[in-house]
Each structure stands twice: as C-alpha cells, then as structure tokens.
Amino acid sequence: MANTRKKLFLSAPLVIFVIGIYFLAAPLFKGTDPRKLDSALVGQRVPSFTLQDLYNHEKQYDAAIFKGQKMLLNVWATWCPTCYAEHHFLNELAEQGVYIIGMNYKDERSKAIKWLTDLQDPYQISLFDKNGMLGLDLGVYGAPETYLIDSKGIIRYRHVGDLNKNNWQDTVLPRFNEME
C-alpha cells in the first residue's frame, strides 16, 4: 500500500512533463512559423503613441492620423536589405493612389532621409520610431512589415516580409479591397 503511494508520488514528475510537453508541441504542430504569428492587435485600434516626423523632429503625430481612410502602414529601415527590394513596389502602389504611412523603425534619421530622397518617397506621412516604441506595441518582428488599417483606425491584417506583385495580388489586395 505504502509502496503504491510512493510509486504514484514518484510518477508526479512524469505527469507534469507530459502536460508540459503538450504546450511545447502544440505551436509546432499548428505549424506556427514565427513569421506567420498574428499581431495581438488584429481587430483592434492602433495603440496610442506620439512619434516625430522623419523629416522634421519638431513635428509630432499621434494615432489620429490613422483615421479617415483605409491605408497601409509600412514598417521599414535602411539596415534592411529586403526593404530596399520592396521600396520600388511601394513607389508603384503610391502612384496607383494607395495611401501609405511609413514607419522608419530603429534607424538613423539622416540615413533614412537620404534613402527616401534617393529612392523616391512613397509615404504620405513618415513616422520616425527611433527606439521601436510603437513597433513594440504593434508586435513588429522585424522589417519590412505592413499593416492594413481601415478608415476607423482598426488594424485588419498584418503582412510580414516584403510586399511584391505576387503577394499583393494574391493575398493583400483582396483584403485591402474588402475593408471600408
């Protein structure tokens, strides 16, 4: 009798391990590639913030700029080679009349300005997120990332990685058209 109880007691680590393993396994079997992680904020408002304008550090913006029309919020940086590849396509989108707000992420102001001057500026507004504060709130993994935001300022979709002709046509544009 005492022995059975002892055995049960000694099995406790095994039981705890089995329960623990479920939580480790579940994200893997769902194929949760970290790059496909949802932003915790999809379906919610853009968190409140105040950030400087990229060009003019005395000018400041808050979350109000995301209201009024549907738009893209593009997170980019000069240290990110993929952003360079993506930039040309963003210029095309801007020419088609898509409203894009750019957020320069963990970067240096002077370099970012030079980049936009050299490569053409597709952004209606450029935010300068030096310390990645808004990026942190949004759950930005890295650059580039693009958020679809509707006219009420609610985040509808998050796209990780570069935007290009293919994924714009296949996945992003249909969602963008659905939004109000």
Binding site: N3, K6, K7, L10, S11, P13, L14, F17, V18, G20, I21, F23, L24, A25, A26, P27, L28, G31, T32, D33, P34, L37, A40, H57, T78, W79, P81, E108, R109, S110, K130, G139, Y141
Partner: protein, 649 residues
C-alpha cells in the same frame, strides 16, 4: 572534397554512437565480457571521428571555402582569422556540431578517466551517453548539415558573421556554455545507469560528484561570460535581461546548483538519494529543453537564431524520448531506493533540503516565466510577455530566506544540532553584519533605499557567517593558522563558493539600486557633469576596421580636475550586412564602471550620447568567478584522486 569527408566522418561517428549504445547492453545482457569492454574503445573512436569532422569544418572556414553554404552565410574573407574560427559555432548548424563534439568529448573523458570504476557500470554509462550522441548526430545529419554545398552557383564572398558575434567574449562564451550544458549529460548518464542497474548507493553519488561539478563550473563561467558580453557589447548597459535564451541557461544552472548540494548529502549521509537522481535527470533535461526553446523558434528572443519548425519537431521528439523515458524509468525504479540515514529537524541535512526547496522554487519561477507566454497563447488568452519586473520581484523575495539559510547552514551539524548552542554566536554575527552594512552604505551609497539595505545586509550576513564557520572549524583542533592550512580543499571550496555568492548579491544590489543612466546631447567641445565626474567630448575620429567603418568619439573624464580616463566609444557600420553596431567605451573599476555609448548624430551636428554610472557591477562577474574557482578546488580534493574505490558503483 574536404567538406564531403567531413560529412562522412560525421556519419561514421553516428554509426559508432549507435554501436556504443547497443553493443554494451548486448554484452551485459548476454554476459559477454568483450562486448562490455568494447564500450570504451567505441567511445574513443566516436570522439576521434567527430573531432576530425569538427577540424575539417574549422579548416574550411579558415581557407574561406564559400562553396559550403554554412560558411557562405556566416563568414567573409574580410573577417579576421580568429572570428572566422569562432564563426564555426556562430550559427545553428555549427553550434550543433559543437554540441555533439563536446558530448563525445565528455563521453571520451568518462571512458578514459574511470579506470577505478567497475567495467560493467562504465559500459552502462557510456551506452546511455551513446544514445544521447546518436540523437544529436541524427539531428545534425538529417536537418542541419553544416557541410552542404552551394554548388554549382557559389558566391564569390560570404555574407559575414553577425556583427554582434564579432567579439572576443563570443569566441569563448558558446563553448563554455555548451561544455556546461552537455557536461550535465554525464551526471544524467550516471543516474540512468544506476536506475537501470537498480543500485543507488553513496558510491554512485561519489562518482558523479566531480563530473557534475566540472559541468557546473563551465556553466557558471559560460553564463557570466554571456552576461559580461551583453554588458560590454550590446550597448544597453544591462547585465541580465531575463530573455528566454538566458533563462534557458539559468534553469540548468539552478538545477545543477541544487544537484551539487544534494549529491554532497547523498554521498556523506546516504539520504535524499532518489531526490538527487531526479535532480540529475532534471539538470540535463533542462539543458535539452533550452536547446529546444532556442532552436525551434517557439519563443521569441533577442537571440535571433535561425529557427525552423521542422528542427523543432525533431528536438521535441528527442526530448519526449529522453526526458519522458528517463522519468518513466524513475517512476518505476526509484521506489526501490531505501534511505538509511536519519536526521532531525534542525540539522545540516534539513538545511540543505531547505536550500534545495528554495532553488527549485526559483527554478519553477524561471520555467513558468519562460513558458507561460506559450501556455497563455495556447489556451486562447492571446500573446503576452513576462518581463523583468516579474522575475525581479519574485527573485528579490526568494533571495532573502535563501541567503539567511545559506549563512546558517554550514554552521549546523549533520544529524542533529541544538538550537541554543548556535543562537548566541548567530546573534553577534547578525549585529556585526548590520554594522558592516551601515558602514558600507554610508561610504558607497548616494541615498537610502530599503532594498539596498536588505541586499547588502544579506551579502554581509553570508560573508560574516562564512568567516565564523572557517574560524570554528580551523580552531577545532589546532591553532587558527595551522587549522586554516589543515582544512580540506572541499571545505575551502564551500567557503569560497558561498563567498562568491555573497559578492554576487552585493554587486547586484548596488548595481540595481544605484545605477544612474542618462541620455544627453553633446557637441564636440562640450562637457557635462555627472555624479562627481566631468565628461568632456574631445573630438571625433573616423575609424576603418577590416570589415567595418565608423566613428569614434573621444571623451575625457575628470574628477576634481584629475584626468580619470579617456574613453573611446565607437559607432560602427559593418559593410557587408549593413548593420550598425555600438561599441561602448567602459572605464572599469573596483567600485564603479563609467560607460559611454554613442547614439546617432543629431541634425545640428551634436551627438546623442548615453552615459552610465554602474556601481559595483564588476562584482557581478567576480562573484561567479569565485564560485567557479571553488568548484575547481572541490574537484581537486584528495578523496577524488587518491582513495581507491572499494564499493561497487
């Protein structure tokens, strides 16, 4: 051709690991002495082949062979040779090769250094180690081959090593850490072998003790090196971030610390044996878990390793097999263990038990804090992150009883201790520590906080009780001086280790409570006063390294018009990966560090500069260094070298 040979050597090592697992067990089962004895030879052969494979990869890095994909993504011909060498373990594939290489190194060490152990026991231990090696060989060969080629279109030059990793600390940090992680496999193998055999006696504890201690020393050094590297390289001025990857190394360390204490009790008094076995299993399981967390990408961390779900799945399978299997074995076999020693409530045994309970509590806190975000997401509550405040708060509570008991524990006798005998000296020591604490804070602290008072008191309490304990034991039979000389190495090890911990606690308390950091704007020629120091921005130089360009700000620091230091902080751009890096300049000192990191240049030409004053931060690394030294002393204790073993393991 050479790369293929490296891969081939690895495949042979994998086969040998398979034989090393199967053949000794076959020999034990069929009573064939030659099969049992083959374990040692197979282990050494396996080590030689993986050594060959590792040397080949290192050589390919040195000669810049960019036809190898792993080298093309992690090295560059402009990289200095020592960074090319350390780039071998700079990313996933190579660090796994390092892991399995070190595992077979430990196995070979066991095979060669355990002449006094009965051959059958050694064979069991080596077979268990072989099984672990086999799992990792398969992992490397099937999912993360460092030798795969980029042919036919190989790049002219490589993509360079991540600039964060181009630092002297990073050359030795991963091997140290891995030596520790992997070293716990030996204690694990001893435990499993003992469970399989159904014999757990004090000889078992005696034999795994020095091996566990060796692994613990490496892990201690590895973790503190990592912390030092983060402080000097990342430019955040922090020394510990409670990042999942850091936690992954802290968890085996805590379990290992509990294990070395519990092993001591099991060896000397023959109690806690099944608990010790569980700790031995846990320490290595947590190392494996750490590998899983880091490599599978289920957790997000500043250590941005390439992560891959397929690799995660493989490690998970291995994890279930190894940990699940050993816990199952434990559940079935550990009930056969009988404890013979008896002890009373107030005794050294129960003090060590308290120590273990508190360590396990700390371990559970770290484990939960690390895994809770996963659980939280899984049960549908959304993503959360548990950060520094959570850990800091709980650890500052747990440290109080832990330090108090740590001070008393060594003074208490085995089996039974009368409380009245100790209450008087403890009272005097308490008063002494309070006096020292007040003196210390008056001389070094700028203002008063309760947490600082508590932390410093705990530090001095441990130091004072430690000195008293040394005095008591030394004057027990001899005069003080003669007694101190006569004390055994392992006794000194205990004192030194505990003193190291006290130093660590004092360092952490001072740094956490009295650090000052400020972001300032400085133009060339300007100066700023900061905590009795005057920082003057002398000028700016451009620097040109082998694979980076950058600016170097030169600052002179004066105190009362005496030049204290000239600090040269750099802002670098690594040309290949276009990655900016901050090289902080640090003036290190016994009681404080001055730390400058360059931010970005502002539109008006001035620089954003970050200045830190970090009191006693060196003590945070000096403490663990003492602890590691203590470990070395304990391994050098005579009874692990001279006394021949009579009992069967």
């Amino acid at each position: 051709m050479l790369a293929e040979m490296g891969q081939f050597a690895l495949a042979i090592a994998c086969m040998l690991a398979f034989l090393q697992t199967v053949y000794p067990f076959y020999g034990i089962y069929t009573r064939q002495q030659s099969a049992i004895e083959s374990a040692k030879i197979l282990t050494v052969l396996q080590f030689l082949f993986v050594l060959l494979s590792f040397l080949i990869l290192s050589y390919l890095f040195l000669i810049n062979d960019f036809t190898v994909a792993y080298i093309a993504t992690n090295s560059n011909s402009a990289l200095p040779w020592y960074y090319r060498l350390s780039a071998v373990w700079g990313a996933h594939e190579g660090s796994l090769l390092l892991w399995v290489f070190l595992l077979s190194f430990w196995s070979a060490a066991v095979a060669l250094l355990s002449k006094r152990l009965p051959i059958e026991s050694v064979a069991r231990v080596l077979a268990v180690l072989g099984l672990l090696s086999l799992g990792f060989y398969l992992f490397v060969l099937l999912t993360s081959n460092p030798f795969s080629r980029t042919l036919p279109y190989f790049p002219v030059d490589g993509r360079d090593l991540n600039p964060l990793l181009q630092d002297i600390g990073l050359i030795i940090h991963p091997p140290m850490l891995y030596m520790g992680y992997v070293g716990f496999s030996v204690a694990f193998a001893f435990a499993i072998a003992a469970l399989l055999e159904g014999r757990l006696d004090s000889a078992w504890a005696k034999w795994s003790r020095p091996w566990t201690m060796a692994a613990w020393i490496f892990l201690t050094l590895g973790i503190s090196l990592g912390s030092w590297w983060a402080y000097s390289e990342l430019g955040w001025g922090g020394w510990w971030f409670w990042d999942p990857v850091e936690n992954a190394s802290l968890m085996p360390w805590i379990a290992g610390t509990a294990l070395i204490h519990s092993l001591a009790v099991s060896e000397k008094r023959g109690v806690f044996k099944s608990w010790t076995v569980l700790l031995a299993i846990s320490a290595f399981s947590l190392s494996l878990l750490g590998t899983f967390l880091v490599r599978s990408g289920v957790l997000v961390s500043v250590h941005a390793f390439a992560s891959d779900p397929a690799r995660g799945l493989f490690i998970l399978g291995f994890l279930i097999l190894v940990i699940g299997g050993s816990l199952l074995l434990y559940a079935v076999q550990a009930s056969k263990v009988k404890s013979r020693g008896r002890f009373e409530l107030f005794s050294r045994e129960s003090m060590l038990l308290t120590n273990n309970i508190l360590l396990i509590a700390a371990l559970i806190v770290v484990l939960l804090g690390t895994l809770l975000p996963l659980v939280h997401k899984e049960i549908g509550l959304g993503s959360i992150s548990i950060g520094e405040p959570f850990f800091n708060r709980i650890f500052s509570v747990l440290i109080v009883p832990f330090s108090l008991f740590l001070g008393v524990g060594p003074l208490v006798r085995w089996k039974r201790q009368s409380l009245s005998e100790l209450s008087k000296p403890l009272g005097s020591l308490l008063i002494l520590s309070v006096v020292l604490t007040v003196l210390f804070l008056v001389s070094f602290a700028s203002h008063f906080t309760w947490l600082a008072l508590l932390g410093i008191f705990l530090g001095f309490w441990m130091l004072c009780t430690n000195c008293y304990e040394l005095y008591l034991r030394a004057t027990h039979r001899f005069s003080l001086l003669k007694g101190l000389i006569k004390l055994s190495n392992s006794h000194w090890a205990m004192s030194l280790g505990h003193a190291g911990f006290a130093v660590l606690v004092i360092g952490i308390t001072m740094t956490q409570n009295y650090s000052i950091e400020r972001d300032v704007k400085l133009a060339i020629g300007e100066s700023i006063a900061f905590e009795h120091y005057d920082f003057h921005f002398d000028g700016l130089q451009s620097v040109q390294g082998a694979n980076y360009t950058g600016n170097m700000g030169i600052f002179s620091v004066r105190k009362d018009n005496h030049l204290i230091a000239t600090l040269k902080a750099e802002k670098r751009i690594y040309t290949v990966q276009r990655m900016p890096m901050t090289e902080a300049a640090i003036d290190a000192g016994f009681t404080r560090d001055l730390y400058i990191a360059m931010g970005e240049v502002l539109p008006d030409g001035a620089w954003a500069v970050r200045i830190y004053y970090k009191p006693f931060i060196r003590w945070i690394w000096f403490g663990p260094l003492l602890m590691a030294l203590a470990g070395v002393l304990m391994i050098l204790d005579r009874r692990y070298r001279t006394k021949p073993l009579q009992e069967r393991f």
